[in-house]
Symmetry: C2
Subunit: 143 residues, 2 copies
C-alpha cells in the first residue's frame, strides 16, 4: 500500500463512487495530483476529507456549504486533529438542531395529529400563544 492512492482505491475505501469523487474534485471539495499518465493520485489525507464530506451530508449540509467549511482548513499542510475539530463544533450544533426538530415532530405526531386537531383552526399545540401569526399559517410552524 503506497502513500498515494488511485481513484479506485479511494472509492473502495471510502464507499464513494469514482464518478462522485471526480464530481467532488470538480467542485473543489477534494484535490489530486496527477501521475505521468494523467491518472489521479490522492494523498492518504483525502480519505479523511471524504469522511467529513459524507458525514456533513448526513447532517444536512449541502455540498456548497461543505465546500465553504473545508475551505477553512489549511492548504499548505495536512490538517491536524485540531483543525478538524474546529470545523466539527459547528456541526454539533446542527445535529442538536436536527434532533430537536425531530423531537418537535414526534410531539406533534403524538399530541397534535394523534388527537385529531390538525385542522389548524383551533389546535392548542399548533398555535400556542401566537406562533402562527409570526411564522405564517399552516403546517410550517413545526419547522
Amino acid at each position: 500500500m503506497e502513500s498515494v492512492l488511485t481513484i479506485g482505491e479511494i472509492a473502495k475505501r471510502s464507499g464513494v463512487a469514482s464518478s462522485a469523487l471526480r464530481f467532488y474534485e470538480e467542485k473543489g471539495l477534494i484535490a489530486s495530483e496527477r501521475a505521468g499518465s494523467g491518472h489521479r493520485r490522492y494523498p492518504r489525507s483525502t480519505l479523511r476529507r471524504i469522511a467529513f464530506i459524507v458525514f456533513a451530508q448526513r447532517i444536512g449540509l449541502s455540498l456548497d456549504e461543505i465546500g465553504e467549511e473545508l475551505a477553512k482548513l489549511p492548504i499548505r499542510r495536512v490538517p491536524t486533529r485540531k483543525d478538524w475539530s474546529r470545523l466539527s463544533s459547528k456541526w454539533l450544533k446542527r445535529i442538536d438542531e436536527k434532533i430537536a426538530e425531530m423531537e418537535r415532530l414526534r410531539d406533534g405526531l403524538t399530541s397534535c395529529i394523534g388527537c385529531g386537531c390538525l385542522s389548524f383552526d383551533n389546535c392548542q399545540f399548533a398555535n400556542p400563544g401566537d406562533r402562527m401569526a409570526k411564522n405564517g399559517p399552516g403546517p410550517r410552524f413545526w419547522l
Copy 2:
C-alpha cells in the same frame, strides 16, 4: 368562510404554494372538485391531508412514499382521527430512527472525529469488532 376552499385559500392557510398544490394533485396526493368555471374547489379536510404531506416530508419521506401512505386512507368518507393515527404509527418509528442516527453522528463527531481517528484504518469507534467488514468500508458505517 364556505365549506369548500379555493386553491388560493388553501395555499394561504397551509403555507404551500398554489403551484405545489396543483403538482400534488397531479401526483394524486390531494384531489379537488371543480366549480362550473373550472376552478378547483377543495373540501376542508384537504387541509389536514396537506399538513400530513408537509409533516411527512420533514421526517424524510418522498412524495411517492407519502402517496402510498395516503392511499391507505378511506376514499368514501372523510378520514377519522383513528384513520390518521394508524398512519402516524409508522412515522413515529421513522422519527425515532432519525433521532438515533443523529445521536450516532454526534457520538462519531465527538469521539471519533474529535479524537483524530477518522482515517478508518485503526479507529476503534469506526470499527468495533467487524462492523466494517460487514457493511463495507468507509464513512458509510455511521448510517
